[in-house]
């Protein structure tokens, strides 16, 4: 699994952090998404897909 985020599109909704806090974080200065890891372990797959599905800005791409 590989994750790509687009910080330009991100609107800092925090949805990804709520869905998968071990994978996504937010920048202190403006809440924009940052990846804690771009290749998380498989047991987080469901949470990562949930994060991508609820991201309102379509800023998260997951390649399996």
């Amino acid at each position: 699994m590989k994750i790509i985020v687009d910080q330009d599109r991100c609107v800092a909704s925090g949805q990804c952090v709520t869905a998968a806090a071990d994978v996504f974080d937010q920048r202190d200065e403006d809440g924009i998404v940052v990846l804690l890891t771009d290749t998380p372990p498989e047991d987080l797959a469901a949470d990562v897909h949930q994060a991508a599905a609820v991201c309102p800005a379509l800023a998260i791409l997951v390649e399996d």
């Binding site: 609107v11 925090g14 949805q15 937010q26 809440g31 309102p56």
Partner: protein, 402 residues
Amino acid sequence: MTIHEAPAYPMARASGCPFDPPPKLRELQDEAPLVEVQIFGRPAWLVTRYAEQRKLLADPRLSADVTTSGYPSPTGTPPKSDGGVGIGFILMDDPEHARLRRMVTAPFMIKRVEAMRPGVQKIVDGLIDDLLAGPKPVDLMEAFALPVPSLVICQLLGVPYADHDFFQQNSKQLIKMTATQEQRATAHGNLAAYLDNLVGEKLDNPGDDLLSGLTERIKTGELTRQDAAGIGVLLLLAGHETTANMIALGTLALLEHPEQLAVLRETDDPKLVAGAVEELLRYLNITHNGRRRAVLEDIELDGQVLKAGDGVIFPNDIGNRDPEVFPDPDVLDLQRDARRHVAFGFGVHQCLGQPLARMELQVVYSTLYRRIPTLRRAAELDEIPFKHEGAVYGVHSLPVTW
């Protein structure tokens, strides 16, 4: 588009079903994902299904700017005070929308909101102490549902809570669909002048709050004083009305579904509580008058063409009841996975305050019914006044006892 025979939007709810969207919306959803309706005597598209709502709300070819030709609005002009204060970035498009939104995203990020949780718990506990010590029956809206988010947003913004009667009254008037243009302009003007004055004070004497943070940006020239005040109007308004209605209407819905209320009362699992909040957001979808947009460039979808200059309405209430996405959509089931709901909208305008709203609701729903286990209505359901005429749905008052 043709206007003949198109049903008028918004539609009425069925009597005796205060928690369900208007039955006509379900009919139209069954019919097609895109249907024509009329609003303010003009045609507009109604996007009835969840998948199409998400797809179009995330499409940059749709504008949230009321001045865009075709936007479903009675006037086509945004609120603007005599002093030039508007209503923040909610009615703006990118890139200006993104530029301004990013100036206030930091205080709403998950870790900052989590840091506020103990303070919110204290506020909620204190208000429940007061309820238990005071007379009953009591109006839960006035004594609890409005004070919780008002106290929280005041602290966050740096607005004196002592002024709550003033801003609650004016906010209510501003979002009342049946208010005249003059009444709404007056309410907006009052809030705008109030926030402009506060921003002025904080320019001279900055504190440790969101509005003071904005004054730093005025000093660097990134932000005009009018835009700072406009953002203040938006946050103050959105920060208390919505959550207050979720608290009161959510409580009423739970009292009508005692087996669901029991689920909340008997758990101390934060995950279950968080899931319950998502389901109540989905089920109640209090922003019940539809997101509104205008088409900037022709868009083809499901065999239809939405033309530049067409108006579009997204009734998220029926989107959240789409049986393709939520099986048995009209059932309130706190243990279902409702996290995909669109109660906070979708796309770049999705609610900025959602982490805060979620946290406040988690604290409230996990505390109120455990501390007052015998809480019950003190009026018949049909005596309770619902906010049919508000841009945000809920109850005007909720008499309760225990």
